[in-house]
């Protein structure tokens, strides 16, 4: 199982001081977050994509990920998320392929549609076309990473004739792609169609909602003949704040929670931790809570925690990373890996994907011949 952290680079004041770090400091902090994650034994660091204050998540994640790749050796790198709507898929194909080479195959991506309206017009796109953009853009990206001399026409960017992405993906095998969505069944369906992974943010929602999206993706994955529903690739977000003494965790975190940009001045910490995956307490409580998710999510293969938001001091965040890496992740990994049946794949690594390609088992988008999915295509 792949366990790590993600950051969206929010520049948030510490409620105790009213001060936020400078943008430069926040960028440097994100890098240290990634290197600390590797040292602490976490598998993965993922970064989001933003185009406005108060965020310093990169506008082009490969720029930051390339820097981190050079400073690390085993850490897996990913995005949470890459915008598949407002970016040019040709640029994405080039930049992420380059980052894949630079990281020696430690790169995967998570696709998202973005949560900030004005980003669409800033990049010349219409927000009402969100889903069609995600569909067309990813379809092109998928081809660009597998075909050379591509001829292509579509609605949202200029046509291509005789185009080959450079560098071509490492070993001709593209980075693994997860599709992220909170509420849109179309994206779960898209993930299933391609045999890609499905990632649910999970953290601000009641688990009953997340469970239904995960189930939708699993059923459709099986429908497209890529494997059984149990074999699909599921990822979940997590949100925690830990102290060995659970009451101390609550006490320390409460002012950060109460003033947090996303949910501050709304629900109480107690209500929110009861109704969403936010867990504030001891490492053991975190382990139990997240292992419990196997009941409704199945053998999910990726778990990424948000731990650097809401203005928490950087040294406090680094301590959280250490606890996650040294206590929480090993315990969760141990149980999940033991429980996962042998025929359910783990979170795909580059080597695993190369082997799958070599064995001729790459998923066929829309399913192979003689599956029920063929009826959809013919309809």
């Amino acid at each position: 199982m792949e366990i790590g952290i993600f950051s969206i680079g929010d520049v948030t004041p510490d409620p105790h001081t009213g001060q936020a770090p400078s943008e430069h400091q926040r960028v440097m902090n994100m890098i240290e977050l990634a290197t600390t994650a590797e040292q602490a034994g976490l598998d993965t660091f993922a970064v989001g994509e933003h185009h406005n204050p108060p965020f310093v998540a990169p506008g082009t994640p490969p720029v930051l990920l390339a820097n981190i790749a050079a400073r690390t050796t085993t850490l897996r790198l990913s995005t949470a998320t890459s915008l598949i709507t407002t970016n040019d898929p040709v640029n994405m194909a080039e930049d992420y392929a380059m980052a894949q080479h630079l990281s020696a195959g430690r790169l995967s991506l998570m696709m998202g549609r973005g949560n900030t309206g004005p980003v669409y017009p800033w990049f010349g796109k219409d927000i009402r076309q969100g889903i069609p953009l995600a569909v067309e853009n990813y379809n092109l990206l998928h081809r660009l990473w597998r075909e050379k001399n591509v001829s292509w026409q579509g609605r949202f960017r200029s046509p291509l004739e005789g185009y080959t992405v450079t560098p071509f993906p490492l070993d001709d095998v593209p980075p693994f792609v997860w599709h992220g969505s909170i509420r849109s069944p179309e994206i779960a369906e898209q993930a299933a169609y391609y045999g890609d992974g499905f990632f649910h943010n999970n953290i601000f929602w009641p688990e009953s909602h997340t469970a239904r999206m995960v189930n939708l993706y699993r059923q459709r994955y099986a429908h497209y003949g890529h494997g059984t529903a149990e074999q699909a690739f599921v990822g979940l977000g997590g949100q925690v704040f830990m102290d060995e003494r659970s009451q101390e965790a609550v006490k320390f975190f409460r002012p950060y929670f109460d003033n947090a940009p996303v949910y501050g001045h709304g629900p109480s910490l107690e209500d929110f931790t009861a109704q969403t995956p936010l867990t504030v307490g001891s490492p053991q409580q975190v382990i139990e809570r997240y292992l419990g998710m196997r009941e409704w999510a199945g053998d999910f293969q990726r778990l990424l925690f948000l731990i650097d938001h809401a203005g928490l001091p950087h040294d406090v965040v680094l301590r959280q990373v250490e606890i996650l890496g040294t206590e929480v992740a090993p315990a969760i990994r141990l149980e999940m890996d033991a429980a996962r049946p042998a025929d359910v794949p783990d979170s795909p690594t580059h080597d695993w994907l190369v082997e799958r390609r070599r064995a001729g088992n790459d998923p066929v988008p829309g399913g192979r011949q003689n599956t029920t999915a063929e009826e959809d295509a013919d309809a």
Binding site: E189, F204, P206, G266, D376, A379
Partner: protein, 236 residues
């Protein structure tokens, strides 16, 4: 077994808003019972959901109780919404509820608007905010809305004798809502034949203007069997 749901913001223990909602529900149920068996009436007082609605507005998180309330709206065959008028508008909690509910939950649902206030000067207040809001949600709102001023709870104040008191207006509105619920029910074979011979022009007109396809509820968007196949998304 039609289910009538009242959604009201009753802020005091003996709230006239809640009382009006109950009276409207009773009038509707009584009018419906002539053609439909076992009408049930369910009541929601938004006062009990006030903090949770604000929490959901600020954080996006729906509490279990709020989700139950939204589900009740989705299920209801008819909705009666009653709000007190504060400073010329229905109290914010009432509009907030409809601003939080899923876009599709009310589509095609028969709705009756009620409101309460100090004097008849505010009798059209609900028309300017609640009716457009519910129309946006594609509810089918009966033309008559009932406003009860404080002195309506005494004797008939209309000066019109039999035809203008609060009681008569409640009865008329209830009958309108019941008529709409009845008209939107998918007709059985016998009913269809009966209606073809019915002399009542209005009833036939109502039947023709409200095809069953208009009524009701979105398919569950997260049902794996109801999802739009990706091949269609690729083609469009």
């Amino acid at each position: 077994m039609p289910e009538i749901l009242t959604v009201a913001t009753g802020l005091s223990e003996d709230s006239t808003t809640s009382r009006l909602a109950a009276r409207l529900a009773a009038a509707t149920a009584s009018a419906l019972e002539t053609t439909a068996p076992e009408v049930t009436v369910t009541e929601i007082n938004l006062r009990t959901l006030a903090k949770e609605m604000v929490t959901m507005t600020v954080s996006g998180l729906p509490s279990p109780a709020l989700e139950d309330a939204f589900a009740a709206v989705q299920r209801a065959d008819a909705l009666i919404t009653v709000a007190p008028i504060y400073k010329s508008q229905p109290v914010g909690l009432q509009t907030l509820f409809f601003q939080l509910i899923d876009d599709a939950a009310l589509a095609g649902t028969p709705v009756l608007i009620g409101s309460t206030g100090g004097t008849a000067r505010h009798s059209l207040a609900a028309e300017t905010s609640l009716r457009p809001l519910l129309s946006y949600l594609k509810a089918i709102i009966v033309p008559t809305a009932v406003f009860a001023a404080t002195d309506d709870w005494g004797a008939d104040t209309s000066g019109m004798g039999e035809r203008g008191g609060l009681a008569e207006r409640i009865t008329a509105a209830g009958a309108e809502l019941a008529g709409l619920v009845h008209a939107l029910r998918p007709a059985t074979a016998e009913e269809t034949e009966e209606q073809q011979h019915a002399g009542d022009r209005k009833q036939r007109a109502a039947q023709m203007s409200a095809p069953p396809a208009v009524r009701r509820g979105p398919v569950d968007a997260l049902d794996p069997n109801a999802v739009t196949p990706f091949a269609e998304l690729l083609r469009s």
